[in-house]
Amino acid sequence: MAGSNEVNANESKMAVPLNTWVLISNFKLAYNMLRRPDGTFNRHLAEFLDRKVQANATPVNGVLSFDQLIDRSTNLLVRIYRPAPVPDSEDPQTSPSSATSSIFSSLISPPSPDPFPVIIFFHGGSFAHSSANTAIYDSLCRRFVSLCNAVVVSVNYRRSPEYRYPCAYDDGYAALKWASAQPWLHSGKDSKLRVFLSGDSSGGNIAHHVAIRAIESGLTISGNILLNPMFGGQTRTESEERLDGKYFVTLQDRDWYWKAFLPEGADRDHPACNPFGPNGIDLKGLPYPKSLVVIAGLDLIQDWQLAFVEGLKKADQDVKFVYREQATIGFYLLPNTDHFHEVMEEIKCFVSSNC
């Protein structure tokens, strides 16, 4: 028992840099303290332990952020990240010295006259952890802005176990609808919202399901970017058994999070969890967006992620799948590996070619 912990610790230590190991192990242990066996969650402690950052309308490395309440009924907040607005020095009316210049209006001015992508981002955390203002996701969203010259809208969706399916999807769809109603987010000669849905872990799952709702309501999505998306199913796959407990994640914790998110009494073949499983819908012929799916080779749920990719392919959908054999979960959180840099390049290519 103690012995097997040492073995597992040694394996995961070989796979990631030391600071990554410390970061993810810290999350793992803190999260273990938050989940209770009876299915409840220590939200108070979770919020205390979560490292958050404030929005900052002063550009840092060319990126600024600000928060907006987009749905009062559910207290739905988003954090918007954008390139620093370029002041128009030739127009005296908009010069910085003008006493009437509105800071807010400069915030919501289009970042460029050319078409620009809007990336709606859903943070990870297995539906239960983290927020839009969590430090690690704040960093990631800022990087997306610089990488893709995009406006990133990070959605502070409602989390389980307090809010189960379909609340997170509802919030995601609400953010999409909000974005489609913001004139400043429309760009190009045809004044289109060039929107990408993206997310890691549970956020990837949310992105997929919001894309399906978008189809149903006729909204066009330029692309989906899923990083280690969280899927599962009732059966145990080979990767789950092989990698259980080896790289920071256990089957047991996966089961807990699904149980906390899915409706009471549902099993993991619920379509939210297993979209191409026995209860899934057929996407053939539907205008589902092009997808970029990134899978880490040391993620125990990769068999489900691979099944997701297969499901999209079988439905004749356009999917580019990137498999990083030696990557663990969370590789995209710290810019200290090839996995990180190469995947960022893939994302940049995907966005620019589909924008």
Binding site: M1, A2, S4, N5, E6, A9, N10, K13, M14, P17, L18, N19, W21, V22, L23, S25, N26, K28, L29, A30, N32, M33, R35, R36, P37, N42, L45, F48, L49, R51, K52, V53, Q54, A55, N56, V60, N61, S65, T134, A135, I136, D138, S139, R142, T250, Q252, D253, W256, L333, L334, P335, N336
Partner: protein
Amino acid sequence: MGPYPCGSAATGWEGGRSEAPCAAPEIDGLLAGAGYRVRSSDLCHVAQRLERLESAMVGSSGNHVDFAHPASDAVHYNPSDLAAWVDSMLSELAPADPGPARHAPAPDAWEDQIYSQPQRAVAARMEEEEDSGIRLVHLLMSSADAIQRGDVALAGSLIDEMRLLLTRVNTGFGIGKVAGYFVDALTRRLFSASSAAAASGSPAEYEILYHHFYEASPYLKFAHFTANQAILEAFEGHDRVHVIDFSLMHGLQWPALIQALALRPGGPPALRLTGIGPPSPDGRDSLREIGLRLAELARSVRVRFAFRGVAANRLDDVRPWMLQVAPGEAVAVNSVMQLHRLLSDPDSPGPAPIDSVLAWIRGLRPKIITVVEQEADHNKPGFLDRFTEALFYYSTVFDSLEAGRASCSGAQQQQSTAVAEVYLQREIRDIVCCEGPDRAERHEPLMRWRARMIRAGLRPVHLGSNAFKQARMLLTLFSGEGYCVEEVDGCLTLGWHSRPLIAASAWRADDFDEDARPIPDNFIFNSISNTNESNSSINNNAAMLRRRNSNNNNSRSSDSSSQQESIHGM
């Protein structure tokens, strides 16, 4: 701190400013971006502490979800200071830092990433201690091996090295403490004139050590409790009962039995207690004194009570007639950690004293024989094997004592723990230093005792689920939740973190023909080597015994000579 007088590394993140930190070079910039301030030089140390925290959190089922959430009551300090947070979690969850023997050394893969700094402070000290602990174990093994091969010079120099190492490790707990005792024992073995060094101290002193060991840990309480349960059940329906205690000590076991008998439905039996113990050197009769105290207690709960003391230095000096077993009384023989003293070296020829003692025990036709022994193999002929076994056994016992000491508050309890260690030290010295007839602590595992008892013609008595459940409940009185009670084939063991340390079993010899021969050796071979069929062969032999003996004839003539006074209560 570093040469950069930048304040934002220290304060930037509390205010939540999303600037890239102007980090002093020691702070890991990437973790700072994630909201955690950790010095790069501390990364390795923090990683090790995280591993320990995980070990502390993983329960006995290896199940994270079963984690008992004391963290929700814990005080959490600033989570950004990751090193401090992990340490505070560790001190909440694992107050007694377990010995480094249980943790892997820092893996080689990280040596590149440890930045060389003039002050490595806590991280370095931690590593050094862990390394020293592992070195100590290696040195102990090497010196035991040298002694076994007769290389006294090498053993001596290794002992010197260990003494030096002991000055650099924390000898207050963990491997440092246990190693200290073993180094001391090795020294005595090499440099003492006689191997009877372990036998120092008077019986009175030994009884005091025993009493403190009784207070400081649950092992003896478990022994007394399970034995009393079995005796109580065996005595059901009998009006006259006789308990023979192979080692009276301070009579700690008997008040509970006397009280339980007093509360028996239908009223208590008349109880006789014969306590065997060493003679008192200074003319006092300590056995009698204890008998008087127990008689007083029996009187207060209205149990008819008689006490007899039998003074003997060794159990094999006792003769059955000294015990004055009367016809018609139900006999219980109680041996807590005594029988192993009657064993000899496994490879020495001829019968050992245990055989004759078991034979006369059987002759008493007891309703119940309660046997409690240390669950270890310290009777191996090879010195290195024995030494290794003892090192791990006593490390585990010391760990459990340490956990008990850390979680108790009384000064008296703390003192008991310290004296309990001296009690254990005597055993360690005996096992390490003594050879031949000088060695008394010849512990053997339960399986071997069972075979021996069966070979002697004794029948096993299942200790019962009642005893099991109650023993477990007893353990909840003790903090330091690492103890576990297990049931093995009708016997109970108490251990620390799944290592059994003490085993209790019960036997009887009251229902067979006096002339019946002891069960032949091939039966034992069947019962211990072929577990699938052992039940059927035991059942066959039991049926055979029952058929042979339809008349349970208890009458015996007893010798009238009596050497000791008897004390009557009531």
